[in-house]
């Protein structure tokens, strides 16, 4: 029993070649018996026929294709594809070689940042160290010892007082007699002979304007 609705639902399968031979024969037989279904089928088939004609009309001229091919060829050359030898290694080399020749695509900013970081790190590593040798050679220890050193200072003396030291001179002579080495200063040697035991007269004496005194501070051994 022919059912127009069912037959028309099968028409796309017929026009798009999705029917097997027996189903196709059965459907075509039904179309012969039903003008409505047959008209629908012819209409759909005509549509595809006209479409094909229009599609062919839209195809470019033969002169288009060589230029198209050359444009594609140029694009392969500009493409960062694998170099032949690298691809050969990838395809047939053992795992360790493939690992060694492996590459990873990274964005340019990330690559620049990584290279900059690597360069700075290398520079810092190659720079000579500022620290003492002790860090490099821990077996040499520095021993700290405190030594008292006399610090001479020059001072300007604006007033000098001379005193009679005859009594002291007497004691000094006694020490000389005991065999002690006494270093007498210039002032003492310039004095008048104590044997005369006279009072020294400072009239007419003219001292120097300045005298350098070496004052030794601290715990210098006496």
């Amino acid at each position: 029993m022919h059912n127009c609705q069912e037959t028309k639902e099968r028409l796309p399968d017929l026009i798009f070649g999705e029917m097997d031979f027996r189903e196709k024969e059965r459907t075509l037989a039904e179309l012969e018996r039903c003008p409505s279904c047959d008209a629908e089928y012819r209409s759909l088939a005509s549509t595809l026929f006209i479409y094909d004609r229009a599609a062919r009309a839209a195809q470019p001229d033969e002169s288009f294709w060589p230029a198209h091919h050359e444009r594609l060829r140029a694009s392969y050359g500009a493409s960062p594809a694998l170099a032949p030898h690298v691809a050969e290694i990838r395809a047939y080399a053992p795992l360790w070689k493939r690992i060694l020749t492996a590459s990873v695509r990274v964005p340019a900013p990330l690559a620049i940042a990584s290279l900059s970081l690597l360069a700075v790190t290398t520079l810092l590593a190659l720079r000579p160290p500022r620290t003492t040798v002790s860090t490099a050679r821990p077996e040499t220890r520095v021993e700290t010892r405190t030594v008292e050193v006399p610090v001479p200072q020059d001072r300007v003396v604006i007033r000098t007082v001379y005193v009679d030291r005859s009594r002291r001179e007497g004691r000094a002579n006694a020490r000389r007699d005991n065999g002690q080495n006494i270093v007498s200063n210039q002032t003492a040697s310039a004095r008048p002979n104590p044997a005369e035991n006279q009072r020294e007269v400072l009239q007419g004496f003219k001292p120097a304007d300045t005298v350098n005194l070496h004052i030794i501070k601290g715990s210098f051994p006496r």
Partner: protein, 204 residues
């Protein structure tokens, strides 16, 4: 490329990075790919861009081709993915890429040296077919091209697009009805819009 052993040799060399071998391999399919891109985009410049992008993808992915299917089957899946991505991009941009027949023939050097009447007739036909294709959704258009131009089965198309065979059939039927309307084909006595030949609830 008629000799299968020649193609296998070209594939082997292309996988090893031989650019010339890939060029020779591609040459056999360049027209087919470009024309599909042309019918899909309805625009000569877009078709050129799309074809170039597809071939570059294939060139870069060649080392991954394992020969589990034919070279063209592998290439076609890359093409389908490119078309779907292009569709998403175009949907985001919301820019119609259709061009007039004059622009189209200028960009593709499509007009051969026929007489004036023939050329006028061709222009009308091309404008009609582009308008018809424009009226389809990108997925309807892709399904129609895969079926009518590529000869894929409902099942193959469904697998490639991740939908059901019933949805493919329904989409094709709607496409033919739209084409019929745009191309001005007489519907005859049939009231073709009264039936939809696939499972209910599926919509493309």
């Amino acid at each position: 490329m008629t000799d299968l052993s020649d193609e296998l040799e070209l594939i082997r060399r292309a996988r090893a990075g031989d650019q010339e071998a890939f060029c020779s391999l591609a040459k056999a399919y360049e027209r087919r790919v470009y024309l599909l891109a042309l019918y899909y985009t309805r625009n000569g410049a877009d078709a050129e861009d799309m074809a170039q992008e597809l071939w570059l993808k294939a060139f870069r992915a060649m080392k991954d081709f394992r020969g589990e299917s034919s070279f063209y089957t592998w290439l076609r899946q890359i093409m389908i993915n490119s078309f779907l991505n292009h569709r998403r991009g175009a949907a985001t941009a919301k820019v119609s890429s259709i061009e007039s027949a004059d622009q189209f023939f200028a960009s593709t050097k499509g007009l051969r040296s026929f007489d004036l009447e023939e050329n006028v007739h061709r222009k009308i036909l091309v404008e009609k077919i582009f308008c018809a294709l424009e009226d389809l959704t990108p997925q309807q258009r892709l399904i129609f091209l895969l079926k009518h131009h590529e000869g894929m089965t409902y099942e193959e198309i469904a697998r490639s697009l991740g939908c059901s065979a019933g949805a493919v059939k329904k989409s094709l039927f709607r496409t033919v009805l739209k084409l019929r309307e745009h191309l001005g084909v007489d519907e005859g006595r049939a009231e073709s819009n009264d039936f939809i030949p696939c499972a209910a609830g599926e919509n493309l």
